[in-house]
Symmetry: C2
Subunit: 254 residues, 2 copies
């Protein structure tokens, strides 16, 4: 049974203020919870009788059997699914290590991406594409918000998210680092030589990359539409642009 | 001013039953409404004073000036934006013409895609990629649902959507038509010869392509992850998979 206090605690984790204060986050459903359980400390797992019967060995600090009705009350989803768990957020990496990571591999940066669904979908893309580190500006939607966590489909288990000031990160990494962004005046993504390391920056849904970051972008790319020059939408959804860009980087590296 | 009857009429268009009975659909915001106005008959346009001042020549049957409060009441959006319009849905193309279209160009089929946001995003991708016809199974989310329309960002002005029984469509188009789907056991997307015509089928978010359609798929593709064989998410979001697949078809045709 779920006590009133526990229910309140679970509901509060929908708010960033409480998530940050506690250093915790919420995940739901067998797929996402199952993917996260081996990677994050689980403080509390609430699940229906059916789920608990199917998963007898759960590595959680506390396991509570709950009814469908209690699940409904605690869940952030429209259609709750069997299980809901509270995990500890990973300890943030010291900022001094960010530029070191960036110099050694291909990374992604999110500069003011607003929609939690987009951020989650992008983390899922990063996971698929073997991009292990994603740097987020402080105004990007929280990677540990319930909607983001659900959209990642478990990618948080494999992709590290670092919240940081992007201009500072780029400055510390050094001027020789290629910093890519997709812009309308960029070079053809499919004709550009690209690179195997560097930073790909994706911007806000409405306004694109911020001025402070754009000033530091030294490789502008354009995702060509088809046929070239055809009247079309002015832009692609940010997660779609991320997929096409990262996909092309990785296709070249095969 | 918005009468009670008009408000009721607008709100009812959130329901498929009413949209289909009236043959109408709702669009919101300056960008989407602006893109659709030149392409669809507009029966009713409701907008704030500011919007009407900035757009003195509107080709709508009826224009009503409304307050922010009325806009809030009529809108399907969390943050309504200036304008809301009712358009006539395009007349459906006779089914006999579907296979003719399919034989002549690269088309997309959605087989049970559930989420209106995904359908809208996919239509926006089709628009960008010059895929002019999208065939939807009857159980795919309605292309004219408010959430879909908003996610298309105006792509409905350029992409024709046909609701039809997909197995029948494929059978009528003929066995020589390449029918592609992405599956876990498919051929490497980047190594496959692909083609310049044919049908790319995208399936349901949870269950993929239906058995009846999968039986008719003669070219299975796999979107490789990176590095190949790395433990990763089991799948990509359906809109992301659509973008990567269609993007690769079009990259080859450049």
């Amino acid at each position: 049974m779920l006590s009133k206090n526990k229910l309140k605690f679970l509901r509060q984790l929908a708010l960033k203020k409480h998530r940050d204060a506690e250093g915790l986050f919420l995940a739901e459903g067998p797929k996402v919870v199952g993917d996260l359980l081996p990677h994050f400390a689980c403080l509390l797992l609430c699940a229906t009788t059916d789920y608990l019967a199917a998963h007898p060995h759960l590595s959680a600090n506390e396991v509570i059997e709950i009814t469908e009705r209690e699940l409904q009350q605690a869940s952030q989803l429209k259609t709750p699914r069997q299980v809901l768990a509270v995990f500890r957020q990973p300890a943030p990496l010291p900022e001094a290590e960010h530029p070191i990571i960036l110099r050694q591999r291909l990374c992604l940066a999110l500069d003011g991406v607003q929609d939690p669904g987009n951020v989650g979908t992008i983390l899922r893309i990063a996971d698929w594409m073997g991009i292990d580190h994603v740097f987020c500006s402080p105004d990007t939607a929280d990677a540990f918000a319930p909607k983001t966590v659900q959209a990642t489909m478990g990618a948080l288990a494999r992709v590290a998210v670092h919240t940081t000031d992007l201009p500072t990160l780029i400055d510390h990494a050094g001027a020789e680092i290629p910093v890519f962004a997709t812009t309308l005046d960029g070079d053809d993504l499919y004709a550009d030589p690209l690179s195997t390391t560097g930073l790909i920056v994706m911007g806000n849904e409405g306004n694109g990359v911020s001025a402070e970051v754009l000033r530091r972008v030294n490789r502008r790319l354009y995702i060509p539409n088809f046929p070239s020059g055809r009247a079309t939408s002015e832009s692609l959804n940010v997660a779609i642009a991320t997929a096409l860009t990262c996909g092309e980087f990785r296709r070249r590296q095969r």
